[in-house]
Symmetry: none
Subunit: 206 residues, 4 copies
DNA sequence: CATGAATGAGGCTTCATTCAT
DNA sequence: AATGAATGAAGCCTCATTCAT
C-alpha cells in the first residue's frame, strides 16, 4: 500500500514541487537549476545529489505521473465495465471524465509539462507510447468492442471511435487548461454538451 | 506586387527556414542562435543584423503565419456561406478542413512552434487571442447563427457549437501532427469520420 | 571586528585587485571580464558569482573607496579643529594633505578609476555628489567659517574659499597622478609651495 | 590662410561632429562606430573610407584640437608679453583665461575627450607631451622668467609657479565643466577670485 | 546528507571592419 | 564616393555540474 513517494525526504519533495511549478510555467529548457534550488530553498548541489542531472529531475517528475494518470483506468474501469457498472457507453465516458477531473485539476502543472516536453525528449516519447499508446489503447479497444458487441456503438474501426472520443475530451482539457485557462468556463455544462454530441454521434439511432 | 516575402533576401529566408526547422524540432529555448546560423550557413552576427533578437526571430516566424492561417477564412468563407455555396453546415466544415490541409501540411513546423511556444510568450498569446480569439470567433459566430436560423444546427449557445467543432478538428490536428505524428493515419477517412460524428451530433434529426 | 573586507574570500580579493589594476590602466569600458578573470587566475564565471555584473564589480571597487576617502575627515578633522589642534588654517590644510597622502599613494589606481569613470556612470556621480558634494562640503563650510570668525581667513563667500583651496589641492593630485604621473615630482616641496601660495592668497595680511 | 578643415566633405564633418559628441558623452571605448554612423546619418562603411579605423577617427578629432588649443598662445602671447602689452603678470593671466574662454566653451566636448582619453592612448599621450608638455612649457617658462626678472613674481623655481597657476586655472575648468557642470557658477567672479588669490600668492609684497 | 564556491562551456548579442555593388 | 549586408571575433553573462568542506 506504500507508494514510491514514501521514500522521499522533505528536500526531495521541495525540489520536485519547485521544479514542477517552474517547468510548467517556463518550460524545461527555460528553467535553470539554480531557479529550482532557489524556489525549493535548497542548495544547488542538493538537486544533483538526489537527481543525477536536470534531465533526471524531469524524468522523476514526469514518469510517475504517467503511471498515475493511467492507474485508475487500469485498475477499475475495465472491471466495472465488465461488471456492467456502466450500462451505456456514455455512462462510462462520464465516469471517466468525472473521476479524472480532480486529478487533472490537482496535477495541471504536471500535465502541462507532460504535453509540452514530450516532443523534445525521446525517453518521454517512448514511455508515453509504451504506457498510453499501447497499454491504454489496448484496454480501450476492448471496452469499445465490448459496447459495440452490445450494439451500443456504431460499427466503425474501434480505433477511430477511441480517437474521436479521446480527442474530444482531450481537446476540452487543453482548451480549458492550456489555451484559454482564463475564460469563464462552465465545466459541468461543457462536459454535458460534449457527451451529448458524442452520444448523438457514436450511439446508433434505434 | 506579389507578397510581403518579396522583400526578404536570400540569407534572411535561409535564417527563417533554419530557425523554423530547429524551433519545431527542439523548441525555442532548446535551440541556440549558433545552431541556427550553422544550419542557415550564415555568420551568427548576420542573424542579428536582420532580427533584433532571438525573440524577434521567433516573432518574425510566427506572426505572419497567424495572419496566413486565418486569411482564407476572412476573405472567402463568409461570402461563400452567404452566397449559399455551402448549402449545409457540414459542407462548410469539410471545405474549411480541406482548404486548410495543404497549408497545414506545408506549414507543419510553423504550427508546432505556434502551439508549443504560445504558453511561454505573452506577446504570442496576445496576438493569438487578438487574431484567432476575437476576429475569427466573431466570424464563426455569424456563420453558426446563420445555419441555426436555417434550422441546420441544433439550438445551443453558438459558442458551444463552435468550441465543440473547432476542438474536434483541432484535436485531430494536434493528435495527427504533434502527439502521434508517426502513426499510420488515413487522413481522408479520419476527416470523414470526424465530420460524420459532428454531423450526427449537431445537426437536428428531422 | 577588524573591517568589512574580512568577509571577502581570497578569490574575491583577487578579482577586485585584478579589476582595479586593469580598470585603472585601460579604463572600465576598455577592460574585458575575461581579462580580469585571467589576471585574477579565476574562471570567468566566478566573477559573476560574486559580483552581479561588470558594473557591479566597478561599484564594489569604487563605492567603498569613496567612503574611505572621506572617513578620516569625518571622524577626526572637525574635532581637532574645534579642539584647537590646528591653530592656523594652513595647519589644517597641511594636516589634511599629509594624512591623505599615504592613502592616495596606496590607492592611486582606485583614484584614477574614480576620476575617469565618474562622468560615465550616473550611479557614481550620484554617490560622489552625495558623499563628497554634500557631506564633506557642509563640514568644510563649518571649518572655513570657524577660521573666518577667528580672523584667519579673508572674508569671502566660504564656498569660494573651499573651492579655491580644494581645487588647488585636487589639481595637484590630478596633475601628479593622472596627467603627468611620470614627471619627476618633489612632492614635499610642491605641497609646501601650494600651501605657501594659498596662505598668501587667503590669509589676511596684518 | 586656408586650414586643414577646408578639405573636409560634408559627410566627413558630420562624422567628426557626431563622433565628438558621442565620445565626449560616453567615452571612446563606450561608443560604437554604428552609433556614430547613425548620428552622422552616414553608412557604416563611410566612416572607414575616410578614417582608416575607429582609432584613426579619434586621432582625427583630438590631434587638430591640440594644435588649436595652443595656437593663440604660440602666436600672440609671447609677443604681447615682450611688447609690454601686459605690464603685470596678472594681466597676462587674465588675458589668457579670457581669450581661451570662448574656445573652451565651444570646444568643451573636445576637451573632455582629450582629458578622458589621453591616459589610454599612448599616441595621444606622446602628442600631448610633445605639444603641451614641451612646447608650451618652454614658452611659459620664458614668460615667467621675464616677469621674475621684472620683480613681479616671487623667486621660486619657475616650473612651480607655472604649475600652480596652470593647475588653479585648469582645476577651475575641470570643476566648472566636467565635475559640476550643473552648479550655478558665476564665472566672472570666480575668475576674479582665482586671479586675486594667485596675485596675492605669487606677486611679491612690496 | 547538505552546502555553495568554483568551473568552463556555451548562450545571446555587439563590435569594428571588409567588400561587392 | 557611398552604401549596407556580411562577417567572426569578442563581450558579458548564465548554465549545469562538480567537489571540498
Amino acid at each position: 500500500m506504500t507508494n514510491s513517494e514514501t521514500k522521499l525526504t522533505k528536500k526531495q519533495i521541495a525540489i520536485l514541487e519547485a521544479a514542477t511549478e517552474l517547468f510548467a510555467e517556463k518550460g524545461y529548457a527555460g528553467t535553470s537549476t539554480s531557479e529550482i534550488a532557489n524556489k525549493a530553498e535548497v542548495a544547488e548541489g542538493t538537486i544533483f545529489k538526489h537527481f543525477k542531472s536536470k534531465k533526471g529531475l524531469l524524468l522523476s517528475i514526469v514518469s510517475p505521473m504517467m503511471v498515475k494518470l493511467i492507474a485508475p483506468m487500469v485498475k477499475n474501469d475495465m472491471n466495472k465495465v465488465l461488471d456492467q457498472d456502466f450500462e451505456h457507453f456514455q455512462d462510462f465516458i462520464r465516469a471517466m471524465i468525472e473521476n479524472r477531473k480532480a486529478f487533472i485539476k490537482k496535477n495541471l502543472p504536471l500535465l502541462r509539462i507532460l504535453i509540452q516536453e514530450i516532443p523534445f525528449h525521446p525517453e518521454l516519447k517512448e514511455q508515453f507510447i509504451e504506457h498510453i499508446g499501447k497499454d491504454i489503447f489496448a484496454r480501450l479497444r476492448n471496452i469499445v468492442e465490448h459496447y459495440q458487441a452490445k450494439g451500443q456503438l456504431i460499427q466503425t474501426h474501434s480505433d477511430t471511435i477511441i480517437r474521436i472520443v479521446a480527442s474530444s475530451i482531450f481537446s476540452y482539457i487543453i482548451a480549458r487548461y492550456v489555451i484559454v485557462p482564463d475564460g469563464d468556463w462552465n465545466d459541468e455544462e461543457e462536459v454535458e454538451r460534449i457527451i451529448q454530441v458524442l452520444e448523438n454521434g457514436i450511439v446508433p439511432r434505434e
